[in-house]
């Protein structure tokens, strides 16, 4: 029985391999694209098919990046500043926030026009008004659109949820009803009233979901609006066909006067990132985006200079990056440069604090000290991760580079003595501890690593391997003892990481470790309501360090991503927020001709 299945599988595999090879070859030959060297054209690769050009449906990062070339929101992330900082985009300056922290009043930038499009009178794009934002946000809330991005405003704005509920039963959604918390006070003034203070609200206005769309286009194109983007952005689509593997954008000829930032963060000046300061964007006239799901063709296209920048495919990592973390000789001869991006995340092994055994602080500290994080980093993250000292990753206010957590060091002796203080000398009397993780190769290896490290101090650990939904279910029902997991920022605010330890957020909430410390809870609920300020950052730093020393988790690393780019791309800075960054890039055509000739 099984034998039959096996033979079938083998031959299927073989034929699959054949198809793959054939397909790769086809893609390879069809990929011999002609490079346009007469003007500044950017060639990009996107890893997945995108879900069209409707901001409220662009829930994956690939779609979001494409959408953000055409559409804009009130805010964007400052292109150069780190930690990540919000900068007004379509908003004219930062909003006025009332003392109660509930009312946000925005001025809308004047003289912003939508792209020229047949949906407007005479085909001329009209001026953007505050009403357009009201409409776009109602569209996001409209249950008939079932947007996957609704969560960003759910239960945030006064009256919006009620309006949404009302439309669920209505035959046609009524956009004329007025909503208390969402109003255009005049042509250029927009006001939000929140249900309760939520200083992180501004981040949701930098997400693609809250981008502004003109109602004329939605009305004209209806369900085809997703294929006919009309925005205010620096680029507009020249050709977009959902079935094609190529998207072509051209610079928006009527783009407002927008300028390259004049200030950056440390080191930007030296790297030449401020040479374009104050110049009008965009610099690049045309963008060609190839949809290439397969890694190998993307890699080969990059090597031929047919794609200008690329996330390093995992399989090609060693071909691209030398052991000293610079690009390999092969690539550096071609002028390829590497850009390091710190992922806004943290990997950790969470203790379940509802388990009485793991409430033992000395035990937790001992286990944390037994992990050799250098080795963890070397074995599983190419040695490129940053060892986490607190939950807050670099790139976010609240990260303190100078701080070293004494319980994230590797110190077996100290670990053993703490274990003794915990009442389990050399692990005697300590029951076997369950370790839950998912059953992929890397997570299995990490589990083996964890078991080995714990065995050094006599702590016995038994790994359980789960599917991802199984693991989530176990965490939500508090059935784990230790589980391996990571958190990726929803928005670049330390609050998003510290809330993972806030008692009232315990499982099924985001606090899967069910850590519940009254002092931390109290301090966190205070700081989470503060608006961004240096005082708040100071409190974040302090709070993160205090809690990290209570070892609620065994901290792992903050991961890093590497991107490669060719030498002719200028003003390139790695970022986790890639929305609309192409408008700041430039191409050195002479250099490109010179380098391409060498390929």
């Amino acid at each position: 029985m099984l034998a039959n299945g096996e033979i079938g599988r083998v031959s299927m595999k073989a034929s699959f391999l054949f198809v793959q090879v054939f397909f790769c070859l086809c893609v390879l030959f069809s990929c011999s694209k002609k490079l346009d060297l007469s003007q500044k054209v950017l060639y990009q690769r996107v890893k997945a098919e995108i879900k069209g050009f409707d901001p409220i449906h662009a829930s994956d990062s690939y779609s979001a990046r494409e959408v953000s070339k055409v559409y804009e929101g009130l805010f964007e992330y400052h292109y150069l500043k780190r930690p990540y900082t919000l900068a007004p985009n379509l908003a004219d300056g930062m909003p006025h926030i009332a003392d109660d922290g509930l009312t946000y009043t925005f001025k809308i930038r004047r003289g912003v026009y939508f792209h020229d499009n047949p949906c407007f009178e005479n085909g001329q794009g009209r001026e953007l008004t505050a009403e357009d934002f009201v409409y776009s946000i109602m569209r996001l809330a409209d249950p008939k659109n079932s947007s996957p991005g609704w969560w960003v405003l759910d239960e945030k704005i006064k009256g919006l949820n009620e309006w949404r509920d009302l439309q669920k039963t209505a035959e046609m959604s009524d956009y004329n009803l007025s909503i208390e918390g969402l109003k255009a006070l005049d042509k250029y003034t927009l006001q939000f009233i929140l249900k309760r203070p939520f200083p992180q609200f501004l981040y949701s206005l930098a997400m693609q979901f809250t981008s502004v769309v003109p109602k004329e286009a939605v009305k004209k194109y209806k369900s085809e609006f997703i294929n006919n983007p009309v925005g205010t952005g620096a680029y507009m689509t020249e050709t977009f066909n959902a079935l094609s593997n190529k998207i072509v954008y051209v610079a928006n000829p009527k783009f407002r006067e927008k300028f390259y930032p004049t200030e950056g963060s440390e080191g930007d000046e030296e790297r030449g990132l401020l040479k374009a300061a104050g110049k009008r964007v965009p610099f690049i006239k045309k963008i060609v985006t190839y949809i290439m799901p397969e890694h190998s063709p993307a890699w080969l296209s990059f090597l031929k200079g047919e794609v200008d920048e690329l996330e390093i495919p995992k399989d090609n990592f060693d071909q691209a990056i030398a052991p000293d973390k610079s690009v390999t000789n092969n690539l550096s001869q071609k002028g390829v440069e590497v850009e390091v991006e710190n992922a806004l995340d943290v990997t950790y092994f969470a203790f379940n604090h509802t388990n009485p055994l793991l409430q033992n602080l000395n035990l937790r500290r001992a286990m944390s000290l037994a992990i050799n994080r250098d080795k963890l980093n070397e074995l599983f993250y190419h040695g490129l991760g940053i060892k986490a000292q607190t939950p807050i990753p670099p790139g976010i206010k609240g990260y303190d580079e100078s701080y070293k957590n004494k319980y994230t060091a590797y110190n077996i002796q100290e670990a053993k003595s703490l274990l003794e203080q915990a009442g389990y000398k050399d692990g005697k009397g300590l029951p076997e501890i369950a370790y839950d993780t998912i059953s992929t190769t890397v997570y299995r290896q990490i589990a083996e690593f964890f078991v080995k490290e714990m065995a050094q101090i006599g702590v016995k650990v038994k790994p359980n391997f789960n599917t991802w939904p199984q693991l989530l279910k176990k965490i939500k029902t508090r059935q784990t003892q230790i589980h391996a997991i990571s958190w990726v920022a929803d928005y670049p605010d330390a609050e998003n990481f510290l809330q993972l330890l806030y008692g009232p957020n315990s499982a099924p909430g985001a606090n899967g470790s069910n850590f519940n410390d009254s002092i931390f809870n109290q301090k966190f609920s205070h700081v989470s309501l503060m608006q961004d300020s240096s005082e708040r950052t100071k409190l974040y730093v302090q709070l993160a360090q205090e809690v990290a020393e209570k070892v609620p988790w065994i901290l792992g690393v903050h991961r890093t991503n590497f991107r490669l780019k060719h030498g002719w791309i200028k003003n390139y800075k790695g970022t986790e927020f890639k929305h609309g960054i192409e408008q700041y890039w430039d191409i050195d055509l002479d250099k490109k001709k010179e380098l391409i000739a060498k390929f």
Binding site: A3, E6, R9, K314, F317, R444, Q445, N464, T467
Partner: protein, 307 residues
Amino acid sequence: MIEAIMKKESALNKMNEKTYLIERSKSLYQDAFERLLKDKAAVAAAVVVFFYSVIAILSSMGIIAADWNTEVGPSYSPPSASFWLGTDIFGRDVFTKIIHGTQVAMSVGLFTSLIAIPVGVILGAISGYYGGLVDELIVWFYTTISSIPSIMLIISISLIMGKGLVAVYVALGTTSWVSLCRLIRGEVMKHKNRDYVQAAQALGGSKLRQLFKHILPNVTHIVIINASLQFQIAIKSEVILSFLGIGVQSQPSWGTMIDDAKLELVGRGVWWQLVGATIAMFIIVLAFNILGDALRDALDPKLKGKN
């Protein structure tokens, strides 16, 4: 000179007589054994199987490869005099892991056969002998099981039972009895109308006696052939399951080693885990296949006298 020739001849005659005598009295199994011994490939295969079994037993007793989990050198050091097959991600000796993997593989083969063979034989015999409703029920049962893709069945069983070696035994054991059951059923149906069974019946032998005392011994060769093939299928399946991450946990298996190699091979060029585990598996699977074929040649009455 002539004397010498005569001596030789008489010796030859004696030998012939001896052979003749033995040939007349030897049983099916004796005969098969002798035929097997003549087949050099089969002998080699049997030696390999024996060798693997010894390794597996020694390893399970903790005499060899007990220290597979200790770090003996740096991560990913290539094969050398001190590490014959290099080291893995944690600096453990790959050769020792392969030895320990042999224990896992052989135990899976053994326990799977121990589950599958009794189930297959008993159900097949009952179904073939009694016929009627019982037969229909059993046929319905095994057709149902065989209509479910076995890999899906195995995955769901190991998900229900929780992962681990025992789940692998049960999952493979409960899915691999069908072909044996079918064969036995057919064979029993054929035998139950034979003269010797009818004679047993005429003498007043009960149905169970007819079945187990008379028919079953006459179909045992099928079981033996099947067992050796079953064994290698179980070994392969274990490797596949472990590769997919639903097999053996927290101890080395050839499957998890190949799974590791998936990440090591391309980026780092670490080929020794893959090669070591694959060759270890290849040899035993090949040996069982050769042995299975030779057993069939030796035991199947229909093939007798063909070589």
